[in-house]
Amino acid sequence: MTLPTLLIVSAALIGIGIYGTLSQQSFVMLMMGLELILNGAMLAAVSFWALTAAGAPEGQLLTIIAMAVMAIEMAMGFALVVAVYRAKQADTTEALDGLKH
């Protein structure tokens, strides 16, 4: 468990997440991609904190903020999905081709 291996794992998670975010049509699956990116980012942050920062608490703080961002992303994402679904019965990105009803 060295820094390069940890970072490669997080790079893999971020890579899969980017693929998912760019390719998925369904809002919810798209959000899963975003979550996976954040998952990789958090792993990288914790790895740097543990192995290069001598336990400086800001590293952990960064991860906590990432978690909060994830929660916000999730909540807002779902709220938007519900709002859009209510308005247009749409749950895919293609179905939204305008900003009005």
């Binding site: 519900v82 679904y85 209510r86 019965q89």
Partner: protein, 427 residues
């Protein structure tokens, strides 16, 4: 060695049985509830044995076969019915005549099945899916993301949700005719939006209900009022037990069922069950629901009508009851909880009346109408079926509320014409 030891331990536990109740099967079901050798379960999948009690209408024979197939094999079928045993089962089913022996015999049959002395029932239905799990294309059942019939199974399409206008998928399925949630014989097609009932179509009406024999006798000849009232109290208490069981108080339900067979005149209902337990039914799902409105209200009878404030009661026309100072109890709300309270109050009143009648040796006087526990029973018009009221009552309720409402009605018509001629028989 260890295996036989474990097996011996297992054989001391009661055997789970799924009851299939047909016409005139009510008494056998009560006997099954009381038997220490078995436990009555809610789902055939958990059972080791199927108990067929009473006669099943010919239109439900296919459903009976399906339920039989849902009991995991190896299984035992117990036949406590006037119907003939189906050809396929004639070699393996155990035929029981005495209802009080039913539990014992089922347990013995399951033990000998487990010991390999007896073979399991054959399957009555072919054990195969309704449509083959054969994929198309890249191993999937359908094409496109939504709709269609993947693997021959129709997919839901969104429709307006009742509560908040979101377009979501409905779930359509049918329950009955042997579901413990519905009266025997009743089948319904249900459309659910999430937990909310969006559609309730009665597919078949419940079987006619067979009342305790004393109520039929009272039509023809004078019977002891004490006997009538004890039978009434027992009837109400059993239905309260069903309501308790439905709402997660199975132990109290069992207590009530055991007490219902040995009721004594003058007992207080609070001796039978903790008063607060029955009162807590006021708070369960659906307690305030299930109020019958408008023109349908007139179709309610007996306790259900009195729970809504209508003091109709055939006992008022009987001089014996008048002499005992009988006054009908009524509730106001007419809701699910009010009907349960009505059953409780009437059971308590019946026990008091029974004590007074036993002391006075009061006999009823047949006047052409008897107040049965489900409404006025006369020679010409026994209580009729009201299951068609359910759709308007249930739509819009949550599932658990709907089940409470169902458990607070007597929907079935009362069996009358063939009772006198064929005591306890079927077709």
């Amino acid at each position: 060695m260890a295996v036989t030891w474990l097996r011996r331990l297992a054989n001391q536990a009661p055997v789970p049985v799924f009851p299939v109740v047909g016409i005139a099967g009510e008494a056998a079901l009560e006997a099954l509830y009381l038997s220490p050798a078995v436990t009555v379960v809610q789902s055939p999948k958990r059972a080791r044995a199927l108990a067929v009690m009473g006669s099943i209408d010919y239109r439900d024979q296919q459903a009976l076969r399906r339920v039989h197939g849902q009991v995991p094999a190896p299984r035992v079928t117990a036949w406590c019915s006037a119907m003939a045993v189906p050809q396929e089962l004639s070699g393996s089913a155990i035929v029981v005549d005495a209802t009080d022996q039913l539990g014992q015999q089922i347990q013995q049959a399951v033990h000998s099945l487990d010991a390999g002395q007896q073979s399991s029932d054959p399957n009555l239905c072919p054990d195969q899916p309704p449509a083959p799990w054969k994929g198309v294309g890249d191993g999937h059942g359908g094409e496109g993301m939504m709709g269609g019939k993947p693997y021959g199974r129709p997919m839901a399409m969104p429709e307006d949700d009742l509560r908040d206008g979101l377009q979501l998928d409905p779930l359509v399925f049918s329950i009955g005719p042997f579901s413990p949630l519905l009266p025997p014989g009743m089948a319904a097609k249900v459309t659910l939006h999430g937990d909310v009932i969006a559609g309730w179509e009665v597919l078949s009406r419940p079987y006619e209900l067979t009342l305790p024999a004393v109520f039929y006798q009272a039509l023809e000849q004078p019977v002891a009022v004490a006997d009538l009232e004890l039978a009434r109290a027992a009837f109400h208490i059993r239905r309260l037990a069903a309501a308790l069981q439905l709402n997660g108080l199975g132990a109290h339900a069992r207590r009530l069922r055991h007490h219902a067979v040995e009721l004594k005149p003058g007992q207080s209902i609070d001796d039978l069950v903790n008063a607060r337990v029955l009162q807590s039914l006021r708070w369960v799902a659906g307690a305030g629901k299930g109020i019958v409105h408008d023109e349908n209200w007139i179709r309610l009878r007996g306790p259900a009508a009195r729970a809504g404030g209508d003091a109709r009661d055939a006992r008022l026309n009987d001089p014996a009851y008048v002499a005992l100072g009988f006054e009908p109890v009524v509730q106001k709300q007419g809701s699910c909880a009010a009907r349960w309270k009505q059953w409780r109050d009437e059971a308590g009143q019946a026990l008091t009346l029974a004590a007074a009648a036993a002391k006075a040796r009061a006999m009823s006087s047949p006047s052409g109408a008897v107040e049965s526990p489900v409404g006025e029973l006369t020679k010409s018009t026994p209580p009729v079926d009201i299951s068609d009221l359910m759709p308007s009552l249930l739509v819009g309720l949550e599932w658990s509320e709907a089940m409470s409402v169902l458990a607070s009605f007597d929907m079935a018509a009362v069996r009358y014409t063939d009772v006198i001629q064929l005591q306890g028989g079927g077709e």
